[in-house]
Structure formats: structure tokens, C-alpha cells
Amino acid sequence: MWRLLVKHSAEAVTRVATSPAQLPCNRTLSSLVPIVQDRIVTAISAASPYHSDGDCSCSGSGSNGFSASFKKYSTLSNLHKDTPDNNLKTSFDFTPANYKKIEEILSHYPANYKQSAVIPLLDLAQQQNEGWLPVAAMNKIAKILGMPYIRVYEVATFYTMFNRGKIGRYHLLVCGTTPCMLRGSREIEAALIEHLGIARGETSKDGLFTIGEMECMGSCVNAPMIAVADYSAGSEGYSYHYYEDLTPDSVVAIVEALRKGEKPKAGPQTTDRIRSAPEGGPKTLLSEPKPPKFRDLSQV
């Protein structure tokens, strides 16, 4: 009930705020009604697709049924909201093959510390369930591990890599950390946004792509880069590839290849280099390595 109220009031505020004629002076309002203004500013920033403040506006959590406007100033996206395909009544079960995997995973941990397997199991469930974790999957994992449900929810909400709302089959994670940003990750993201016609955190209408943002994935030398999580074939066909040395054109090409069901080659896209090796082949250590110098002990 309360959530509905919040949502509706926020929508009302959004409506007010987006009609510029009624927008009073921000500063004055803030002295009178800081809370309402809070919402207004949130709504304003949400109205523009490019509010890239870069904090906590990561993957999947936003696809929980709420508009992205709440992300910055509200914790609403932490909460579960019942939807027809995600509520306490829905069921989830691992496939027999995955049960074998679970057994293997659990064998890594002492029997009385099997709760430690919660992250691998959440990951497995996410792979199996088209890239997102319904509450039923978390409950199932809690039961397998014999831990209270809330302890699993805590982990799943803490890590932004766990999506608690439906996402597209291909999760396009644009690196937004400084090296990539300097090398043009904003243009990469803008190209994706323009090409797919969706904002960050949203899923394209055909259900194929979700644009998300990730922090540094460690291939700064090949910046800018994106990671693509492929949930189109369950946990068996799951892949997670880096596409590096991107340009706005090449990232669109990757998206189009994925759309056709192809598997574009991972790694550097616009250069001929091998992984992070220099372009055009090695530049150093070209000669035969010299043997280490030995003192001629007989001369001593």
C-alpha cells in the first residue's frame, strides 16, 4: 500500500515537474519543502536519459518495475515487488544437471560452512533463469544451504551483478570507470542507447538487450570495452565475453551480430592486436633473450 502511494505521488510529482511552466525557483522551494523538492529533482534528472552521476545506477536492480528516477535518492529498488512472474507463489527449481553442479560446488566447502556457497549458487540460478533471480530462486537456494531467506536476500541485493528483475537475453555492461571513460566509454554507451532506443538499465522491446554499467573490469589497456553476458542458452550455454578496443560503430556491429544469433569474436574489435599485446605485434623483447651474465669464477 505504502509503496503504491510512494509510486503514485512520485508520478504526480514527475508530471508537475516536467511541465516547465509550473516549475518554481528551485532554491526557494528547497527552503520550504525539501522533501518534495527532492522528488522533483529526482524526477527531473530522470527525465533526461543522460544523468550519468555514476552512482548505484547499475544493472538489473532497476528493472524491478520502478522507473529509474528512484535510483539516486531512494532505496526502493532494494525491495521485492510482487509481479506475476516474481512472487512468493512462483516456483523455481534447478535442473538435474545443475543439481550435480551444486553438489560439486558444495564439496568445496566444509559441511557446516555450506552457506559460503551462496554466491556460486545465486550465480548458477541466474544463469539458469535467463539472467535474473526471482525471489523463488533465492528461497530455493536458502533451503538448499539451510540458511534463513533474508541472508540470501542480503547477498543478492548487495552485489549489483545479481539482477532481481527481468533483463534481456544479452546484458551489455559498459565499463564506465576512468580509463574507459577517458577513451570514450560515454560515446560507446550513447551509441548503444541510440541504436537500441533504450536508456541505461532498460531492456529493449524485443527482450534481447539490456544496457547496464559496470565498474572497472580490468582491461583498461584495451579501453573502451563492454562485457556481454549471454543468457540466451541457460547455464550450459552461458558466456561472459569482453569486447575491447571499441568504437561506436563496432559496438553497434556487435549488437547486430548478437541479434542475428551469431557469436562475435571476443577481444579487441578494431585493432589487429592479440588481447592486450601492442598493435602490430610486439614492440619490445624482440631479440633472442640474452643468457644471464655469469661471472667466470675461474677468473676470480
Binding site: W2, D38, S74, T75, L79, G146, P148, F158
Partner: protein, 855 residues
């Protein structure tokens, strides 16, 4: 702590070895006193001891030092105890707990044995290792731990404390106040609020004192500019997202954040961004949430996980989006959930029934006793004028620590509804008509004098106090009636041997048990705070094995072996072989808890016979340990049994209902006592079943309206204080009986409350000594156990819950709207949980208790 009265010792000579058990928080002072009186220099120490006692009675919920030992290092304490046990200087060759040592000391107090040498040589550990007499008598470092002490310096002042304690505890010990939000002595250490930063010499940064172990020779500084700056910085961060809504916040005025912001807060912030907003959670009808105020100290999460044992709160999200919540919509289903209101240092979790009804500075308070169950939790009744506004717990380590059940905390709104404010007399038309006192008393006296004594019965209700029971007992004796019954303690018809109806181990001492057998009792609904104790002992590692023969599908919040739900399952344990019987026999301090509900069964004698056999087999009763307990269900029953309010020898068990029945607040199961044509006199404070059936209604006072004595299940007399006046024309209960006796022509010989109490003390001398428990070493087993033949067979009926609905047990809680809301909402939540097979705590069943990680 007075000397034992000669009369009592004489009365119980040879039978009972009386041990005067004191409140453990008084233990140190007691010890000092007894030791110093032996040593001959008593004056200064005594004075200080008295101060210590007085200080410990302050209604301080946030007392930081008082529970140092019990939470922090139970394990360590235990190992030291074992070390001490092997030491031959101690009388108890088996492990003697601190409490018991204290008891022994006081038994040999100079009054009873003026010339005898002390039974325990004064341990050197009572004096600090430095040789000086310790000044700080509120220190509760147990003497056992004083052997292994380290010295640290707090602001240049040397402090001795046991190894393993934290810097914050060292500062507390030195009397230096450290601001804190997340640290709580009864919860695990989180170290996430960072408010307790102090400077430690040679440490490059300020350290969080609550999480830093004190090291020998450590030099701690708490008043340097660095510390001030660090704390101011932390406070500024805490206030970034904290709304400035103190004027409309229920915590305002008693808020830790508010108080500490007065010291470390700035008058302006440098934060120019927007404050975040957090969605409020629906936690049920008791707890109101304003989550935007939350500062993420995680006390509530730790409380729910560690103390309440209901894991449904957690920390969701991360960074700026972090919040406390349940993720999915669900209510908190714990019976002790209200304590998070006290724990919350800000106004994020506040009391829903109390919301916006009063500001705390408007309230006056009286220290009182909770009567909602037999534990007698210590409470503070906050009232504004003639209205009870709220009830909060008071610190008493021996009874309720600092917790209170939801029923005790929230049933106070029942005090304002369905009250009997006028005497009523049933008129010729069969309807109750308002009357004046004289008319009502004359009508009652006429009925009482018109029948012979054996046609009069008296039933004591669940909330009756010792004074009114005394008056009723004397009144009935003068009317030649022997038919005396206690509601809620049916079947307990023999009060000759006190231990046969007491919780002999003691509530606090139950923590020392290492194996517990629950017989026919669902502790979680009958005595939630006792259940909290057991869970605490289990988590501390002292209590390993718990088994239950009782109602099926009990969720006790800790792992236990459910041996069955029939009495026959109990008799399997008599062999002493295999399974839990062996565990019990091997245990050093085994305990058996028999619920009073069991004693209501027709086969109670047979069950008690089986329990006796198990107790003998397992050696539950030892020289210094009495582990055989009866858990009473109501606040009145122990007091009534102490006063011998049981049917006299001439009363037949299957006698027809009496012609005149006097109900002293008895409302349940009336059909047993009241016949179709009985004349019923109801004296009580609520219009419930009793008043509806009554022919004469005499309005009495509720527990917040009278100064009355209640005896809890371990036999501890405690006294309530009158906080508010009685409503309308009601009167204090014993006065009504006194007036009625005069009109009936059998005047009771007392006119003052003191005189009634003296009379009660004549019947049961222990009732005079408040807050003290007199423990005998004779147990239930000492009474003439019924032979197998006379006891009859064990019935096949399974055990049922003695308290089917925790939230509604007595007239007050039945009149309470809050409790009605709890009943309906938690019932539906529990149904949902059962349907979903909801896991509220770690899957204890599959993991052996011993393998649990160290907690």
C-alpha cells in the same frame, strides 16, 4: 540481604538448606560486604556497597557496564570456572557458579552464624590485584576473571580488566563515557557506526574502541583534539542522510543521535546534495518504522538474529542505497520483537501504539512488575497524569535482563478498556445493575453467610497479588471454607514443599545448565524471556543439548531434539540409556523444566512420577544444583501457592460446584468451579467472563493501580507501584475483602497494607524479603512421590500448548486492541510461513549443535 529469620530456619530445619540468593547485580557488593565483615573493616566498603546497589537500580536500559561478563566472554568465564572448580579451596567440587558462591557467603552471614568461620575463605580475587580496595563497586567483572587481569591506561588512569575485553569496555570500567550507536553489550560487536573512535598511543589512526581488544599497557586517550575531530566527522556523516524531523519524531528527547549530536554535531552541514529517502517497512502492529531516520547500526538485525532468534531482518543493498528491511513483505513474528524499539538508537523503529501519544518528557514513571506471565519481568510504567502511556523494561539481570515480552510491553491499552468502575448487583430481572459499595457488599455478605462453609469456594485469578490472596485466604478460613483454587495452576494441590512448584534453578542460573529437558512446555509462548535465556546459553556454548517432550511443531528458535509429544515418549528416558537420557545423565548441570500445563492433565501424578525417575537417574539434583523446575504460567500462582491457597484436606476432588463462588479475578475455565445455580461474586478489574457470569461484581485495581506484591515462578517476591489511580469507584483489592469481611461479620484483623503484609509473612516468611529468592536443595522429588499404582496410567493424549495464543492470556490482554491486532496479524503471518515453509533461522536440525561455528 537481611539475616535469615530464625523463624524460617526453624520452620524448615533439617528439611531445607536455605540459601539466600541475591540479585546478581548486587552480588559484588554482597560479596564485599560479607568479606569485609569477616575482615573487620566494614564501614567504608558497606557504604560504597550500598551506593552500588542503589546505583544498579537506576532504570537505565542503556547500562553499558552491567553485563560485561555475561555477553563478552562466557566461554572464557567458563574455562576459568572449570579451573576454579578443580581448586580445592572452593567448597563446590563440581562447578560452582558465581551466584552460588555468593549465596553461600550470605548464608553464613554474621546474623545466623556469628561465631562460625566463613564457609568460603575470602578469595583474594575480591580485592583488585594491585592490593587497593576497588573504588568502583559498580564494576561487574566476575571475581573468577580477576585472576587474569591486564592493565591499561585510560586518559592516564590505570584500569585493570580481564584479557579479551575491548577498549570501550576499558573506558567504561574507567568511568569514561564513550559515545556509541552500534555497540550494545548484549549483542555481537559490529563496529560499523564508528562513533566510538578513540586515540590509542602508537596507533596511526583513531581506532573503533568497541571492536579493538584491549592490550596490556595500552594507552587510550579519549579527550584529545584528534578524537573530537574524528567523532565530529562521523557525526556529520551520520547526519547527512538523517532527516531533521526531531520535532515530530517519537524518539525525540530520548534519542541517542540527538544527545550525541549535542556534543559532536555541528550547527550546520556542508552537505549540499539531497538527502535520500528510504521506504518504510511494515513490521506489524507493534513496531512503527520511519526508515529514513535509520543510521544502519544494525542493532535490530543483530537482535533479531541473536536474541530473538527470528531472522527476518537484514541489511539490503549497499553504499548509499543500504537499508534495513525484510526484502519481501512480512511481519516480525517474535514474541520479544518490541525490544528493538528500545535498542534502536534513533527514531527509525518506534512503538506503534505509543506513536504521537506523548512526549517522553511529559511522562512520570513508576517502577513496577509485569504480570503478563509468571516471570515477573521488571518494568517501568510511564504515565501522564492518570493515563498509562507506555510500559518499558527495567534492568534486572536475574529476571528479564533488559528485555520485555510484547505482551507485557503493549497490553497496557487493555487497562483503559472494559474496566469495572462500579459495583454491580444482579437484579431480580437477571440483569446486572449498577450499585453502590454498600449494596454490593451487603448482597455478597448475605450470600456468603447464608450457606455453610463447605458450600463456598474461592478461586484466585491470574493477576491476583499476594495481599489480596492473603485477605481472601483468611476470609475463607473465617467462613470455614476449604475450597480454595488457583486459576492456571489447576492440579497443583499440594503446596507443602515449596520446591515442588518453584522454578528451582532460577531464571538467571538456567544459563549455567548444560542439558535441558522440556516437559510439556512451549517456552516460546509460556515464558518467552526464559526462552531467550535458553537461546543465549545455547549461543554462548554452555548449553549443548536441549530436548523436548511436548507439543508437536514447536519452534523454540534454537535446535532441540523433539522426543515426542506423548507422555509415553517421556517414560522412554527413565531407562537412562541411549540418546538424550544418556546425555542428561552425563551432564554436569542438567535441568528439567515441567510446564504447569502438564500439571493440569489428569495423569499429572503419573507424569511427575516419570519425571522424578528421570531426575534421579540423571542426578538432576545435586548438592549445589537443583535442576528440577516447574514453570508456572501466571503471575499469581506462585504467590498463591506460597500462601497455601490450595484445597484443604476435607475437599473432595469430584465435589459438585459450590453454591457460592468467590472469584478473585478468575475468568477462565469457570465451568469447573461454577455451577448452574451458583451465586458468583466477582472481584476484579476487567469485565470479562467472570464479571458476565457474576451475581455481584466488586471493582478492584489493576497492577498499575496498586502497590502489590507478586511472586515470580522462581519464588522471587517483587512489588509493583501504583502509577495511576483506580478508575471510577474501584478500590484496592485487599481493602474490598477487608470491608466485605466486616459486613459478613468475620472481620479480618488488619487495617493497613503493612498489616496485611505482616500477615502474609506469618504464613510465608519469604514474602517479606523482596527481590530475594530462597532456594532449598530439596526438590520436587522430596515430596512423597505417588506410587505407580496410585498415580494411574499415562494417558495417550499428546501434550498440548498451555498457552494457545501468546497475545491473549489474561483479562487485560484480552481487552487490549493491540493484542487483538497482534493475534490476527501474526496468526495470518504464521499461516503464510507454514504454507511457504519459511525458514526463519538457520536450518538447525541438520547441523549438530556442537559443530556450530564459534559465536
Amino acid at each position: 540481604m537481611g539475616p535469615l529469620s530464625g523463624a524460617l530456619s526453624g520452620h524448615l530445619r533439617g528439611q531445607l538448606a536455605l540459601i539466600n540468593r541475591s540479585k546478581s547485580k548486587d552480588a559484588c557488593s554482597l560479596l564485599y560486604r560479607s568479606v569485609s565483615s569477616f575482615c573487620g573493616d566494614s564501614a567504608p566498603t558497606d557504604e560504597q556497597a550500598d551506593e552500588g546497589v542503589g546505583g544498579s537500580r537506576q532504570p537505565s536500559i542503556e547500562s553499558s557496564t552491567t553485563n560485561l561478563a555475561s555477553t563478552k566472554s562466557v566461554q572464557q568465564r567458563r574455562s576459568l570456572l572449570e579451573k576454579l572448580a578443580s581448586d580445592s579451596t572452593f567448597v563446590g567440587a563440581s562447578v560452582a557458579s558465581r551466584r552460588q558462591q555468593v549465596r553461600r557467603n550470605s548464608t553464613a552471614s554474621p546474623a545466623t552464624a556469628p561465631q562460625s568461620p566463613p564457609t568460603v575463605p575470602p578469595s583474594t580475587s575480591t580485592v583488585a590485584p594491585t592490593g587497593r580496595v576497588p573504588v568502583k563497586l559498580h564494576s561487574i567483572i566476575p571475581d573468577e576473571l580477576k585472576k587474569d587481569m591486564i592493565e591499561v591506561f585510560v586518559d592516564g588512569q590505570a584500569v585493570n580488566l580481564p584479557k579479551g575485553m575491548t577498549v570501550l569496555q576499558a573506558c567504561d570500567e574507567a568511568g569514561v563515557d564513550i559515545p556509541r550507536f552500534c555497540y550494545h553489550p548484549r549483542l555481537s560487536i559490529a563496529g560499523n557506526c564508528r562513533m566510538c573512535l578513540v586515540e590509542v598511543e602508537k596507533s596511526p589512526k583513531p581506532v573503533a574502541s568497541c571492536a579493538m581488544p584491549a592490550m596490556p599497557g595500552m594507552k587510550i586517550k579519549t579527550d584529545t583534539p584528534l578524537v573530537k575531530k574524528a567523532r565530529e566527522g562521523v557525526m556529520e556523516f551520520l547526519l547527512l542522510n538523517h532527516p531533521l524531523d526531531c520535532p515530530i519524531c517519537d524518539q525525540g528527547g530520548e534519542c541517542d543521535l540527538q544527545d550525541q549530536a549535542m556534543v559532536f554535531g555541528s550547527d550546520r552541514g556542508r552537505f549540499t546534495d539531497m538527502k535520500r529517502s528510504v521506504v518504510d517497512k511494515h513490521l506489524g502492529p507493534l513496531i512503527k518504522t520511519v526508515m529514513t531516520r535509520c543510521i544502519h547500526c544494525t542493532r535490530c538485525v543483530r537482535y533479531a538474529t541473536e536474541i530473538a532468534g527470528v531472522e527476518d531482518l537484514g541489511v539490503l543493498g549497499r553504499g548509499n542505497a543500504e537499508e534495513i528491511g525484510t526484502y519481501v513483505d512480512r511481519l516480525s513474528t517474535s514474541e520479544v520483537s518490541g525490544n528493538v524499539i528500545d535498542l534502536c538508537p534513533v527514531g527509525a523503529l518506534t512503538s506503534k501504539p505509543y506513536a504521537f501519544t506523548a512526549r517522553n518528557w511529559e511522562l512520570a514513571n513508576k517502577e513496577s512488575i509485569d504480570v503478563s506471565d509468571a516471570l515477573g519481568a521488571n518494568i517501568r510504567v510511564d504515565h501522564r497524569g492518570p493515563e498509562v502511556m507506555r510500559v518499558v523494561p527495567r534492568l534486572n539481570e536475574d529476571v528479564n535482563e533488559e528485555w520485555l515480552t510484547d505482551k507485557g510491553r503493549f497490553m497496557y491499552d487493555g487497562l483503559k478498556r472494559q474496566r469495572l468502575a462500579l459495583p454491580y448487583v444482579r437484579g431480580p430481572d437477571g440483569r446486572l445493575q449498577p450499585s453502590d459499595w454498600q449494596g454490593a457488599l451487603q448482597e455478597a455478605a448475605r450470600a456468603l453467610t447464608s450457606v455453610p462453609g463447605e458450600e463456598i469456594a474461592a478461586v484466585v485469578g491470574k493477576l491476583a497479588d499476594v495481599e489480596s490472596i492473603t485477605a481472601l485466604k483468611d476470609f475463607m478460613a473465617r467462613l470455614n471454607s476449604q475450597r480454595l483454587y488457583i486459576e492456571g495452576a489447576e492440579g497443583q494441590e499440594n503446596a507443602d514443599i515449596r520446591p515442588s512448584y518453584l522454578f528451582n534453578t532460577g531464571i538467571a542460573a538456567l544459563e549455567d545448565a548444560d542439558a535441558v529437558l522440556l516437559v510439556g512446555t512451549d517456552l516460546r509462548s509460556e515464558a518467552p524471556l526464559l526462552n531467550v535465556r535458553l537461546r543465549k546459553a545455547f549461543r554462548a556454548g554452555t548449553l549443548r543439548d536441549i530436548a523436548a517432550v511436548g507439543p508437536a511443531d514447536m519452534d523454540l528458535t534454537y535446535p532441540h531434539e523433539h522426543l515426542g509429544d506423548k507422555a509415553q515418549d517421556l517414560s522412554k528416558l527413565t531407562s537412562g540409556k541411549g540418546g538424550f537420557a544418556e546425555t542428561l545423565a552425563k551432564a554436569e548441570r542438567p535441568a528439567i523444566i515441567v510446564g504447569a500445563g502438564v500439571l493440569r492433565r489428569p495423569d499429572r501424578d503419573a507424569i511427575l512420577g516419570v519425571v522424578d525417575r528421570i531426575a534421579k537417574q540423571a542426578g538432576v539434583i545435586k548438592e549445589d544444583w537443583n535442576g528440577l523446575n516447574v514453570l508456572q504460567l501466571t503471575a499469581s500462582s506462585t504467590g498463591a501457592l506460597d500462601l497455601g491457597f490450595v484445597p484443604g484436606p476435607g475437599v473432595k476432588k469430584d465435589a459438585p460446584p459450590a453454591k457460592v463462588v468467590y472469584l478473585l479475578g478468575a475468568d477462565e475455565g469457570l465451568s469447573k468451579f461454577v455451577g448452574e445455580d451458583s451465586f458468583v461474586i466477582y472481584q476484579g478489574h476487567h469485565g470479562d467472563q467472570g464479571a458476565s457470569r457474576a451475581n455481584v461484581v466488586l471493582p478492584g485495581a489493576a497492577y498499575t493501580e496498586k502497590e502489590a506484591t507478586y511472586v515470580n515462578t522462581e519464588g522471587r517476591p517483587q512489588r509493583t507501584m501504583a502509577a495511576v489511580p483506580v478508575p471510577g469507584n474501584a478500590r484496592e483489592d485487599w481493602k474490598i475483602l477487608r470491608a466485605l469481611s466486616e459486613i459478613a461479620g468475620v472481620q479480618l484483623p488488619y487495617d493497613t497494607t503493612d498489616a496485611v503484609r505482616r500477615r502474609a509473612a506469618e504464613i510465608a516468611p519469604q514474602l517479606e524479603r523482596l527481590e530475594e529468592v530462597e532456594v532449598s536443595e530439596v526438590s520436587m522429588a522430596a515430596r512423597t512421590a505417588p506410587s505407580k499404582a496410585s498415580a494411574g496410567p499415562l494417558l495417550k493424549e499428546p501434550f498440548t500448548r498451555a498457552v494457545p495464543n501468546f497475545y491473549m492470556t489474561d483479562p487485560i490482554s484480552r481487552a487490549s486492541q493491540t493484542m487483538a491486532r497482534c493475534t490476527s496479524m501474526f496468526k495470518s503471518q504464521k499461516e503464510v510461513d507454514a504454507q511457504e515453509d519459511w525458514l526463519l533461522h538457520a536450518d538447525w536440525g541438520k547441523q549438530k549443535a556442537a559443530k556450530q561455528p564459534a559465536l
